[in-house]
Amino acid sequence: MSAPTIDRATFEALKETTGAEFALELVDTFLEEAPVMLDDLRGALSAQDADRFRRGAHSLKSNSNTFGALKLGAMAKELELSGLSKVLESAGKPLDELAEEYSRVAAALTELKK
């Protein structure tokens, strides 16, 4: 996976079309919501709720792509498609990788806000 942490063109386009101020507020919303989504994915994993898992991955995918976090988006898409069982097989490892990538995204977005 060679997708960038944040695709600058996508992020600039977002600022361009919605206004810079709004885009930065939206980043804040994402930084509040994404950890909740990651928690929700872990919750779905331990409850073995495949539906909830797929929905969580779906939401994260869609938000990631909005900000140009293409790698995070691709990882989430992978989880949405492969589903809960694959993650269970590998003892939740994909979720750890997802969380790591999110940390990078959060740092990059926070940097871009400045």
Binding site: G19, L26, S59, S62
Partner: protein
């Protein structure tokens, strides 16, 4: 007609579009709302399907932007509910989703969604799709409004429910023919303007009497009206209803005559024929121009009975089927069998007494 159309166009274009955005994801919801507001729309939002339906049933929206993956009630369930809701089923829906798989897109379209936009939504595409959807809705609203003005509410509803198709279905009902006695000589003795005015008053009174008893006027021919009770909407006591309408018509004409006499105009008389039974009701004509009408023996019989009022000098004549279904409270007098043209056997004819001297 063109005035009506222009009025409508003005009404519908003047109003700013009210959109409802439904998405459980806060980022998506805010983003979509923002994009739409920047395009000049008024936007409300809901975080799941259940909340959205509540809002749709409470307020008026021009368009719905619907996410599919949602807790509580997902987009598919919303689409299903909308299809089955008479008031909401024409609401245009654009699905905004990042659902994987073409099968899901197909399912949305099959459930009546107008369009499908993949997330993240491209703003230029969004604008174009919304513009097209709103324009289509405007045309549809215009059509609905024109149908409402030029067809009876029952026929308009029937068209909306089952769509337009030529051909009919068998129904049980009563058919009524009515016209003004001696209309031609009356029309010749006065200026045409006065005749139009007379006809308009006559129609207004007759339509009122007929529709207040559940009847539908299907044809207007000069001074004559054909109306049907029991189609397109079934009517349990169509015979009673038709006869009650007839009595009210005679009564209204009596009142109208008092008014005419005081202004020195000749009074008018009407004749009414009613026959009941099975007939075929539906749309006849071409795909371009059609009317709602009823076909069958009883239609011919009702027309003959109406004509026969000239001979009997009784205002309301009915056939045996109608009479046998009537309640006790009507004063009905048998007039014996009458050989009608086109009928192999003579037909028993009955007069309904309006209870007033004629």
């Amino acid at each position: 007609m063109s005035d009506v159309r222009n009025d409508l166009r003005h009404d519908l274009r003047g109003a700013p579009a009210r959109l409802l955005v439904v998405d459980d994801n806060k980022v998506n919801r805010l983003l979509l709302t923002r994009s739409l507001e920047l395009q000049g729309h008024t936007v409300a939002s809901a975080e799941n399907g259940r909340v959205a339906l509540e809002m749709l049933r409470r307020e008026v929206f021009d368009l719905l932007l619907l996410d599919m993956e949602m807790p509580e009630m997902d987009g598919f369930q919303v689409l299903e509910q909308l299809v089955n809701d008479r008031k909401l089923r024409d609401l245009p829906v654009i699905v905004t989703s990042s659902l994987e798989g073409i099968a899901n897109v197909v399912r949305c379209i099959e459930l009546g969604a107008e369009d499908y936009l993949a997330k993240p939504v491209n703003p230029v595409l969004l604008k174009a799709r919304i513009g097209a959807s709103l324009e289509k809705k405007r045309l549809r609203d215009q059509q609905t409004e024109l149908v409402r003005r030029f067809a009876t509410p029952e026929v308009a509803q029937d068209l909306q429910d089952s769509g337009f198709s030529l051909g009919g279905k068998r129904v049980h009902g009563s058919v009524m023919f009515s016209d003004i006695r001696g209309f031609t000589s009356l029309a010749e003795s006065q200026p045409p303007e006065e005749t139009i005015e007379l006809l308009n008053t006559f129609y207004a009174l007759m339509f009122d009497a007929i529709s207040s008893h559940g009847g539908v006027v299907t044809q207007m021919m000069g001074d004559g009206l054909m109306s049907v009770f029991g189609a397109p909407v079934p009517l349990a006591d169509h015979c009673d209803s038709a006869v009650r309408a007839a009595l009210e018509m005679v009564e209204l004409i009596d009142l109208f005559n008092i008014e005419r006499e005081t202004s020195g105009k000749p009074s008018i008389r009407i004749g009414i024929g009613i026959a009941s039974g099975e007939m075929v009701a539906g749309y006849a004509g071409t795909n371009e121009r059609a009317t709602y009408t009823c076909i069958g023996d009883i239609v011919n019989l009702a027309a003959r009975l109406e004509t026969h009022t000239k001979v009997t000098r009784r205002a309301i004549l009915i056939d045996e089927v109608t009479r046998s279904a009537l309640g006790e409270h009507f004063i009905v007098e048998p007039l014996g069998p009458v050989p009608f043209k086109g009928k192999s056997a003579a037909v028993e004819v009955f007069a309904v007494d309006p209870g007033q001297e004629h």
